[in-house]
Symmetry: C2
Subunit: 144 residues, 2 copies
Amino acid sequence: MQKISNTFFYQLEKTVKTYRQYFQAQMKTHGFDITLDQWLILNTILDYPNASQTEIAEKVFKDKASITRIIELLIKNEYLTREGHPTHGRMFQFQLTPKGLKTIEQLNQLVPKFRENALAGTASENIEVSQSLMQIIVENCKRE
Amino acid sequence: MQKISNTFFYQLEKTVKTYRQYFQAQMKTHGFDITLDQWLILNTILDYPNASQTEIAEKVFKDKASITRIIELLIKNEYLTREGHPTHGRMFQFQLTPKGLKTIEQLNQLVPKFRENALAGTASENIEVSQSLMQIIVENCKRE
DNA sequence: ATATTTTTGTTGATATATCAACAACCTGAT
DNA sequence: ATCAGGTTGTTGATATATCAACAAAAATAT
């Protein structure tokens, strides 16, 4: 069998982990007390203010259970509040606190730079090729 | 800011997760009672029989602590045994049990097919382009 | 209007990731 | 021989992933 370390999927995992570590380290350096995943959820709530937790889960391809727990932490750490939905007794409506909003605004200045740094020295057409390739893989894996 | 869902790193995470789910589901379908990560560690021990846990951790870019716990489970589930190292009082030597060996042998027939299925309909030069791209990203992230 | 099914979110159990602190051991310098 | 510093593996705390079971509410069918 092909050496695992030469496979595409090995490299994929390695890249995700390395980028996550870089991202998290940068957050810490810049004084943020929030995880990559918490940032992702806050951001998704801002982009889709009326999404249910289930919809948020789909958008970030996480489990509903993970969303429940990440949101729990965001509320505990005062980045987010939630209220019962006016008409749907099972859903919630979310609102970023001032602290949450400020954090996102600051991070949205920084995050594009993280991406640029990570992608430095790469050709944009190669990035596009890779994205298309990954889309095919996702389709293949979902089909089977 | 660019919509997160269009970014390269979003696609990267999505692809890793989807492939992991596919892999894990296939394992279950074929009657294996082992996780992707456990398979990865077993395989690494076979490839590098004299590696220390720290070295294994580096090879699979996991934390030493994760390796301790995954190995603990592999031993508990009787895929692996370990003994103290003859000369180094702090290290261990590992040995797959017959059950472990059989599992790996069977999986090493299957896993290449998982990869082929996931990569179906993709051009090999695009795979190579993507791998090179990811290598650059890893270097960029480690440097900073 | 009632029964059935679906949707929505929570919880428990288990596996893994990450960070920090730690103990035991090893090595090298003095 | 001793001491300082590095290595190796473990443990605790916390965050997340995944699966399954579940309860409450909503939507649909009859």
